[in-house]
C-alpha cells in the first residue's frame, strides 16, 4: 500500500497551500480518522486554472489530495461532478481496504463540494 509514489506525494505534496482570492473552496473531515482536506479553486472560462489544498491526515488521504489536484488542473468545472470513486482508486494505484478507501475518497468529496459551491455562487 505504501508505494514510492504514495510516500513521495505524502512527504512532498504537490499544490499544497491556500489561494486567497479563491473562486470556490470547500473543507471536510473523515470523522473516523480525523483526516482533513480543504481545497481552493481558481476558475477561468469554466475551467480550473489553479488548484491548491491544505490538509492533515494519513499518507493515503494526503497523497490522494496531492495526486487528485494534479489531475484536475485545466479540467472543466462541470466535469468534476462526473469523477467517480474508480477514478480515484486508479489514480492511487494500490489496493485499499474498505476503511482506507474512505481516506482516499475524502479529497474527491471535498473537490465536488467546492464545485457545487462554485455553481451556487
Amino acid at each position: 500500500m505504501y508505494s514510492e509514489i504514495i510516500l513521495d506525494h505524502y512527504k512532498n505534496p504537490h499544490n499544497f497551500g491556500k489561494i486567497e482570492d479563491t473562486d470556490a473552496h470547500a473543507i471536510d473531515y473523515n470523522p473516523a480518522c480525523g483526516d482533513e482536506v480543504e481545497i481552493f479553486l481558481k476558475i477561468n472560462n469554466g475551467k480550473v486554472s489553479e488548484v491548491r489544498f491544505e490538509g492533515r491526515g494519513c499518507a493515503i488521504s494526503q497523497a490522494t489530495a496531492s495526486m487528485l489536484t494534479n489531475e484536475i488542473k485545466g479540467k472543466a468545472v462541470n466535469e468534476i461532478a462526473k469523477l467517480d470513486d474508480k477514478f480515484v482508486f486508479e489514480l492511487v494505484g494500490v489496493n485499499l481496504s474498505p476503511v482506507r478507501r474512505n481516506c482516499a475518497l475524502l479529497s474527491l468529496k471535498v473537490l465536488k463540494l467546492a464545485a457545487v459551491n462554485y455553481f451556487k455562487e
Binding site: 505504501y2 510516500l7 480518522c33 480525523g34 491526515g57 494519513c58 499518507a59 493515503i60
Partner: protein, 407 residues
C-alpha cells in the same frame, strides 16, 4: 497468583492468524475479547431458556429471570454495591446518558457541572445537550504536562455553583488513574454530586463504590470480557428513588391507567423495554471469570506489562508517549505517536503483521486538542496479553519506520 499464560486458551478468537501472523490483540480499551465461558453462557441461554424476564410465569421465564437477577447480584458484589443500586443498560454510553439524565433533572439556569479535559465523548456530549436545555454551564479541569489531572485547576472551578463533578476514573488515552476519593471530597464541600465513568477502570482493578463514596458509577460490559449490549449504572438508592426515569413504557411500571402511571420499584423503574437478557447473563459470567482470577492479580499483571512496554517504547527514537510514565499510576493503556507517521498508517502497517492497535482521536477530541495532536496510536493490555505481545509491537514499530522510510 493466577497463571496468566494459561488464560489465553480460554479465548477462541486469539487462536487465529491475521495476515498469516499470530494475532497480537492490543485494543482491549476499545473492546475486550471474550472467554469461551462467556460465549457459552450466551448460547446456553438462547438454546435452553430464552424467555422474557419478570413477566411470564412459566419454567423458562422463571429461569431467565433468576439468571438476569443473578447477574445483577454478581455485578453489585463486584463493585461493592447493593443489587437494587444496579441498573442495566445496553452500553457504557447509554449508562452515562442515564446518569447524566438523572442529575440533569435537578439542574437549573446558571448551575455548573465540572468535567475534565481527559473525558471520553460519552461523558461530554450528554452534558452539553443537558446543559443547553436549561442554561447550565460546563467547566473543564485541566491536565498537567505529565498527563495527570491538575487538581488545583479542579479545586479552582468547583464552587457553590457546581451541582455535579463528572470525571473519568481511568483515562482511555493517557491511562491516568484519577484520585476519585480526593475528588469526591472536593465535590462534597461544594455540595455537588459525583459521577464517575468507570469504563476503563472496572475491567482492570478492584472497585468499591462505597469506599470511593461516589453517587454514580458507570461501566461498559464489553470492555470487561462481557458481551456488547451490556452496560451498568451504579447509583445510590436514594438517587434512584428520587430521580425520574429516562426511558418509559413496558416493564418499568406498577400500574397504568389512561390518566396516570405509577413506576415500579428501583432499579426496575429505569429498565424500560426488554433488556438484552443474554448479554447481561454473559456479563454475569464475565464477572465470575474475573473474580476467579482476582482483580488484584489482574491489576498486578497489567502493571507489569505496562512497565515493560513503557521501558521498551521509550527507547524508540522519535516516539512520544502521552500520559504518566509510571506504570503504578496508570492503567494498561499507552498512547503514543511516531514523528512523521500518521497513526492510521502506523496501525495499517502493524496490522499487516497481525498486531491490532487503536488509531485516531480515541473518542477524546478535546484531549487531542489539549495535547496538540490530531490523533494518537494506542496500545492497551488485558489479561490475555504477555511480554511477547509487547515485543511484537516494538518490532512492528521498527518496521513501520522502514515502510514509511522514516529512518
Amino acid at each position: 497468583m493466577a497463571d496468566f499464560s494459561k488464560l489465553k486458551a480460554d479465548f477462541p478468537i486469539l487462536k487465529q492468524k491475521i495476515n498469516s501472523k499470530r494475532l497480537v490483540y492490543l485494543d482491549s480499551a476499545a473492546t475486550s475479547q471474550k472467554p469461551k465461558q462467556v460465549i457459552s453462557a450466551i448460547s446456553n441461554y438462547y438454546e435452553t431458556y430464552n424467555a422474557n424476564v419478570a413477566r411470564s410465569i412459566h419454567t423458562l421465564a422463571e429461569k431467565a429471570t433468576a439468571a438476569y437477577e443473578g447477574a445483577r447480584k454478581k455485578v453489585a458484589a463486584f463493585i461493592g454495591a447493593s443489587p437494587e443500586e444496579i441498573v442495566f443498560t445496553k452500553s457504557g454510553t447509554e449508562a452515562l446518558n442515564l446518569a447524566v439524565h438523572l442529575i440533569a433533572s435537578q439542574l437549573n439556569k446558571g448551575d455548573e457541572v465540572v468535567l475534565t479535559l481527559m473525558e471520553h465523548h460519552s461523558n461530554i456530549v450528554p452534558w452539553q445537550v443537558a446543559a443547553e436545555k436549561v442554561g447550565a454551564k460546563l467547566r473543564f479541569a485541566d491536565i498537567l504536562p505529565d498527563g495527570r489531572l491538575d487538581m488545583s485547576s479542579l479545586r479552582n472551578i468547583v464552587t457553590n455553583k457546581t451541582k455535579a463533578v463528572a470525571v473519568v476514573h481511568v483515562s482511555n488515552v493517557l491511562g491516568t488513574i484519577n484520585p476519585i476519593k480526593e475528588i469526591v471530597g472536593i465535590a462534597r464541600q461544594a455540595g455537588a454530586l459525583v459521577l464517575v465513568d468507570g469504563a476503563q477502570a472496572a475491567p482492570h482493578m478492584k472497585i468499591n463504590v462505597k469506599e470511593l463514596g461516589v453517587d454514580f458509577y458507570t461501566i461498559s460490559g464489553h470492555k470487561m470480557l462481557g458481551p456488547m449490549g451490556s452496560g451498568v449504572v451504579y447509583a445510590k438508592k436514594e438517587h434512584l428513588e428520587k430521580f425520574p426515569p429516562m426511558l418509559t413504557g413496558g416493564h418499568m411500571i406498577k400500574t397504568v391507567t389512561t390518566e396516570k402511571t405509577t413506576y415500579d420499584d428501583v432499579p426496575h423503574k429505569f429498565e424500560a423495554g426488554t433488556a438484552s437478557v443474554a448479554d447481561i447473563i454473559g456479563l454475569g459470567m464475565a464477572v465470575d471469570y474475573l473474580e476467579n482470577i482476582g482483580m488484584e492479580n489482574v491489576r498486578a499483571h497489567e502493571v507489569e506489562l505496562a512497565k515493560y512496554a513503557l521501558e521498551k517504547l521509550s527507547k524508540i527514537k522519535d516516539l512520544e508517549i502521552y500520559g504518566p510514565m509510571d506504570a503504578e499510576q496508570k492503567g494498561g493503556v499507552i498512547a503514543f505517536n511516531i514523528k512523521g507517521a500518521h497513526p492510521h498508517d502506523v496501525a495499517q502497517i502493524l496490522d499487516s503483521d497481525g498486531i491490532a492497535i487503536r488509531s485516531g482521536h480515541a473518542c477524546a477530541m478535546p484531549l487531542m486538542q489539549r495535547l496538540g495532536v490530531e490523533s494518537v496510536c494506542r496500545a492497551s493490555f488485558y489479561i490475555y496479553n504477555d511480554k511477547k505481545d509487547v515485543d511484537a509491537l516494538v518490532n512492528g514499530l521498527e518496521k513501520v519506520k522502514e515502510v514509511l522510510k522514516l529512518k
